[in-house]
Symmetry: C3
Subunit: 131 residues, 3 copies
């Protein structure tokens, strides 16, 4: 299992991690299979969506900000319940196939780390399973 | 990896693709394992839910329509930000186990392709991993 | 494939199933790989989030209760459309890596069965794939 360290810079942001995930495949002993990307944090998540126009990531983030308001009567005392809820909605793991050590993604797709309670030092785990 | 082509007929719809995914397993060399179904589009997704009563798919779609309104101040200029957001919420990949080349699903479960920006020609990818 | 039986006690609740999933790995013939956890129900789901403070699970559940109201004009006649929608939002399958027959989770992470239409007898399926 490969660990990738990430530093987020804002409270909430979508960070394109496609290239750094791809870099872990370059040295893999398997050439074809499935790559599982796992976020071990509970106030962050992972999703795949359009990476060509940054406005898409901006719209996803701003929609989630509105959907899960900070000023609701949350019971968890740390004040970051909205971040936990957003993480539950987007999910914390992804599977992407690879062929010839290259991620097989759609034309407009990128892999995003979703920071919902930053800025922080974060990490993700990449597990490579052969076909 | 198998590619399945789909033609959607409406702007938003849930299309039951259980049978077409099952058909790709029939000719697989593996008899037991995990089937990964991947949507390479950024305005469509995949989910598993009840396929017995079409009213369930209708309710899921109509709820998402209300949840993610078209008339919000979106920044992405193409006008399909709601479709990107809905895709981010439902997710773009599924894993289903198979035994004896048959998908192992719950009694009421079907696999749905979620069109959020149609009608369009779409495709999904099916990767078969042995146990 | 391993089956785990669960009895939920409320209409809506998050049940920490980390230990029972871990117990299925203890006797596995594979020592390293990916564990796929699958919910075969259409009014329940699975998610990974904080298990240290039960207030987090409470906040996730109560947010979803508000987000998907019972008194909307649902078309599915069984009255449990909100449960189907919540299941579609959180998802019905998870992948977690394991090493030396131990689930590899983040410090605060637990695996939750999400009951949205209980109380009921439920079951989940655990599939173990070697690396």
């Amino acid at each position: 299992m490969h660990e990738i360290k990430l530093a987020t810079r804002r409270t909430t942001e979508l960070l394109d991690i496609t290239e750094v995930v791809q870099s872990k495949l370059a040295s893999a002993c398997q050439s074809n299979g499935i790559c599982t990307i796992f976020c071990p944090h509970t106030t962050a998540g992972l999703l795949i969506n359009e990476c060509a126009d940054p406005a898409v990531a901006h719209d996803i983030v701003s929609f989630l900000e509105e959907l899960v308001p900070g000023n609701r009567a949350w019971t968890h005392a740390e004040g970051n319940s909205p971040a936990h809820v957003k993480a539950a909605l987007v999910g914390n793991a992804l599977q992407v196939a690879f062929e010839d050590r290259k991620l097989v993604l759609g034309t407009w797709q990128g892999i995003f780390f979703c920071e919902f309670d930053g800025p922080r030092q974060r990490r993700i785990w990449v597990q490579i399973t052969s076909e």
